[in-house]
Amino acid sequence: MNEGRLKSLLLVIGGIVTFLVPLTPFFYMVLTGLSEHHDFLSADKSFVFTLSHFHAVLASESSHFMAFVRNTLIVSAASAVISVCIASMAAYAVTRLSFRGKMAFMLVILALSMFPPISLVGYLFKLMSGLGWINTYQALVFPYVAWTLPLSLWILVSYFSNIPRDLDRAGLVDGCSRLQILIKVIFPVAAPGIFSTALLSFIFAFNEFMFALMLTTDYSARTIPVGIALFEGLHGQIPWGEIMAAATMTTIPVVILALIFQRRIIQGLTRGAVKG
């Protein structure tokens, strides 16, 4: 075998492995959701196709799956929007205005994001109980915004600092206020960065488990990850089929979002802003 063929063979094998390792659990999830028995891999069982688990999750009143989906979408979207709004204004200030302690500010923000969430959750529970917010959307949105803000800020600062200052100066001379520049010039130019930041915040809130577990009590605010984990069978057994069916459906919105925004993320919108 010559070197070229060996190289391409290794490349193909490497590609397949890289592809399979992250996707195997996903396939297993989908198959379990579609199989009548969750232990279809064992010797005495065989794979029997059924949609009954999906049907059970969607149709049964007691599973509250659609309520979880709605809660999750509302909480994630609200967190992402609020986080990006605050972060983009802060990022504009950090990259464009001169004030004392700019670097210290950024480093403190970074340090704050290093706190392990487990160290905060006890206090958060006490706080939200005190406010009477347990089992409400805001009990989740506020911590999620706080939690995603440092990341959003750092991403947007690096994004905004790549936008030429001359655009701001042109905007100022053309009669804009700073806020108008942010809305009319920086937002559209930084759209790919803003969308990807919002997407990251959204996915974080969508996947978050611990805060949601501690701060919600039932389907009126509970999100999908917690909802699915707490699925219970009729006689207390773990209903693997329903869990996997629900998990499969949960991936759909995230995949759709990623596909929609992918195009915006890739778009080189800054092209032609300045020479070069």
Partner: protein, 363 residues
């Protein structure tokens, strides 16, 4: 709009400490004048433009538009750029990449909330003036450098600014386009009769465009005058070498007084100063002076005559119409321009300095 700067200062706090970009600068720009700031990079010329636009606040001093104070830190007055009715063209063009050409030009009008019909009319008008009518639907990314330049000029003039500011607008264009755009800018400025401040490091641009030129160095105003004044009567060796191409010869010479005559000498060359310049040198009262002579005033001779000097040609650079000659004489080198072409390297030539064309500067 007349622009007045009085004792203007601008300090920046940077990582390396305080940098003073503009130092006690006073000048007046007349209404409708094409005024050029010329200087090497870091001389404070762009800062001066930003101060006029209101993009920077001065540390001290005053800026007036006609009789209206637009910036005076002592009196706590600062008018933001949007209330100054200035327009600016940037070296990078700074077009809004997400808007097409029409919307780019219309942007200042949209911000000031003009009616759609008015906007359409104004944009059509300036785009016709600049010959970019068929580019209206394109995005800046789809334009060439010259086209972007036109769009940025159109955006600047569309709302009839009182002051037109240009920050090295031609630097990113290729040589041929630069020359044609230069002529066009001058014509446009004449037509609009708008007070124009133009920043450049290119002395050719400054000389061809400016009604008057201010030469800046290290934040100081070195000299202000018409291009002809700067060329013929430079006040310092800096202005003398910065303006004119190829630059003026500067030669360190010793002053010798002989009764009525004053003689400048370097190596084995002696130059008898014409009577009208002897007064000037007495005022300087120094032994060493810098003698300046422009290459076009160094004349090469066919045969020997009185007060000529000889040297060896160390380099010959044909420029087309003229030839640039470097003549080595002793330790010094003198650059001369000649319309003849029949020179050979290392040839010995005779030359003299046109009397009355010699400049004297402090050493």
């Amino acid at each position: 709009m007349k622009i007045v700067c009085r004792h203007l200062r601008k300090r920046f706090l940077t990582m390396r400490g305080v940098v003073e970009a503009v130092k006690d600068l006073s000048l007046e720009v007349e209404k409708g004048e094409f005024f050029v700031f010329l200087g090497p990079s870091g001389c404070g010329k762009s800062t001066l433009l930003n101060l006029t636009a209101g993009l920077e606040k001065p540390t001290d001093g005053e800026i007036l538009f006609n009789d209206r104070i637009v910036a005076a830190p002592k009196k706590k007055i600062f008018i933001p750029p949007r209330e100054r009715n200035v327009a600016m063209v940037f070296q990078s063009y700074a077009l809004y990449p997400h808007l097409n050409v029409f919307e780019n030009i219309a942007f200042p009008l949209r911000v000031s909330k003009e009616k759609d019909r008015e906007i359409n009319k104004s944009v059509q008008e300036v785009s016709t003036m600049l010959g970019i009518r068929d580019l209206m639907e394109r995005k800046p990314g789809e334009l060439s450098g010259g086209q972007r330049q036109r769009v940025s000029i159109a955006r600047a003039i569309v709302r009839r600014p009182d002051v037109f500011l240009l920050d090295e607008p031609l630097s990113n264009l290729d040589a041929q386009l630069r020359m044609s755009t230069r002529g066009e800018l001058k014509r446009l400025q004449r037509e609009l009769e708008v007070t124009t401040l133009y920043v450049t490091h290119d002395q050719t641009e400054a000389m061809t465009l400016g009604d008057r030129v201010a030469v800046l160095k290290d934040g100081f105003l070195v000299q202000v005058g018409t291009p002809a004044e700067l060329y013929e009567k430079p006040k310092s060796s800096f202005v003398a070498t910065f303006i004119g191409s190829p630059p003026m010869n500067l030669i360190l010479a010793q002053v010798k007084q002989e009764e009525e005559r004053v003689i400048l000498s370097f190596d084995d060359v002696s130059v008898v100063l014409p009577p009208e310049q002897t007064e000037k040198i007495r005022g300087m009262a120094k032994e060493d002076v810098l003698m300046g002579i422009r290459p076009e005033h160094v004349t090469l001779l066919e045969q020997e005559r009185e007060s000529t000097y000889s040297g060896r040609l160390s380099s010959i650079e044909p420029l087309g119409r003229e030839t640039l000659l470097r003549i080595r004489t002793g330790q010094k080198e003198v650059v001369a321009l000649s319309s003849h072409k029949h020179y050979h390297l290392n040839e010995t030539v005779r030359f003299f300095f046109e009397p009355g064309r010699i400049h004297l500067f402090d050493y």
